[in-house]
């Protein structure tokens, strides 16, 4: 599976032409949550393939159970990417959100990292939507957790929502310095601060 993962990572970098930049930040093998804006089905695989191989091997994407649960998709998601599948709020019957957090904490163990798209669903690429609460609850459970923002540009142009054939563009991934939850921070304050940290990377 390591060879397959390497091939997929190489193909993802080739197709997306991704130019990876670490600004005031650098790859760090410590346990981290990488959070990014979400505009394309390619987002996860491009972000994942842009991490150095050693970090990539321990970075698990958090993905929607309803989309990834069936057949081949599930096989790839689980065996190659070690995806953490969580139920979305719109799933039927409505899931208990605490269960998803438990699931993520368990998946992280002591040294796995997560890749998370806190908007919850793909946007159009113009605005970054408000973050769902999961990021906050996760930090409450693991207060020292490092959150590294990664802004993805142009992936919505390569494979926009609703299209099935990709068109080549050069994309860009900008990582910024890590943030952590502050002791006295409310949920709304924290989520907005995390969102702003991500948006600031857009024009750097």
């Amino acid at each position: 599976m390591n060879i397959l993962a390497g091939l997929i990572a190489g193909a993802a970098r080739l197709i997306s032409g991704v130019n990876v930049r670490w600004i005031d930040s650098e790859p760090d093998p410590r346990q981290t949550v990488y959070f990014a804006n979400h505009t394309s089905h390619l987002d996860f695989v491009v972000l994942w393939s842009s991490l150095p191989a050693a970090i990539r091997a321990r970075a698990r994407p958090v993905a929607a159970q309803d989309y990834w649960e069936r057949g081949l998709r599930r096989a790839v998601a689980v065996n190659v990417f070690h995806a953490v599948l969580v139920a979305r709020r719109q799933a039927q019957p409505a899931p208990d959100p605490r269960e998803a957090i438990d699931h993520m904490v368990e998946a992280m163990g002591s040294d796995n990292s997560l890749i998370l798209f806190p908007e919850g669903t793909r946007g159009t690429g113009e605005e970054v939507a408000a973050f769902k609460s999961g990021l906050y609850y996760l930090c409450q459970r693991k207060p020292e957790l490092r959150l590294v923002p990664g802004y993805l540009s142009n992936l919505n142009r390569i494979l926009p929502k609703g299209e099935f054939l990709p068109v080549p563009f050069i994309s860009r991934l900008t990582f910024g310095p890590p943030i952590t939850l502050k002791a006295d921070e409310s949920k709304a304050e924290f989520l907005e601060r995390a969102r702003e940290t991500l948006c600031r990377l857009r024009n750097l």
Partner: protein, 314 residues
Amino acid sequence: MKNLDPQLVWAFAGVLGLLAVSSLIGLVLKTAIKKPEAQATISNLNARIGAWWIMSAIFALTLVIGPVGSLVLFGLMSLLALREYVTLLPTRRADHRTLFWAFFIFTPLQYCLIGIQWYGMFAILIPVYAFLFVPTRMAIAGDTGAFLERASTLQWGLMICIYCLSYTPALLMLKIPNYGRPAKLMLYLVLVDQLSDVLQYVWGKLLGRHKIAPVISPNKTWEGFVGGIATATAIGAALWWMTPFSPAVAAAVSLTITCMGFAGGLTMSAIKRDRGVKDYGTLIKGHGGILDRMDSMCFAAPVFFHIVRYFYVR
């Protein structure tokens, strides 16, 4: 190995010698000059030389493989160049399928036409059919915002990145009496054009004082322009033996190649300044993207092709 005619081998031996000498000079500069302000220039120079080794090896390999090798190489370069170009365009969601046609239908088709030697269709596929197809497909997509800007910038990109660039391997279609295989003519064009770029850079770094177009390109100087064009033209004339030209004609043709190349570099730089970027990409270490390297070829190749075709093909 049937493509290895002796003149081609001599020309490549020359390139190899040039690369070796450049690497040596790069090494000497790196060890001899310790001034911190010169470090960036020298390490960029060495990166450029390193990239030249790789580019020359790839080009030599595809030339030895034969026409298919050259067509695949330039076809891929067209795709990569177009990718760099459209990334800078104000495309919209509605342009997705038009872009798909540009990349995956028109680009392969253009190079296939060279492969089957259908000159008549090669010459009009982009300027007639793609030109009319692009706005039609965009109209069908239904988004009228900035319509003319979207359609015309894409048409322009197809002309530069596919049509103009494809004229280089199109030389392989030409049947020149008493000349043999035109592969060495393609090498000649690439040599003169790229040497002109390199020599303009070298003369500019050594003597450059007076900026030629400060708004567009701070690195282009009159000294670089005159020195580079003159030396590249002289080299082009000295290489007359690998062309169907006489020495005097080879000089005139080389002057045309180098001047068109300069025009290409200037024009493609103007686009970069308009879009606020320094380079089109980061694919070639020290050079930038494919379009940063091939900008001069895009302008020189079509003119060179038509000069040869008009005067030397019967």
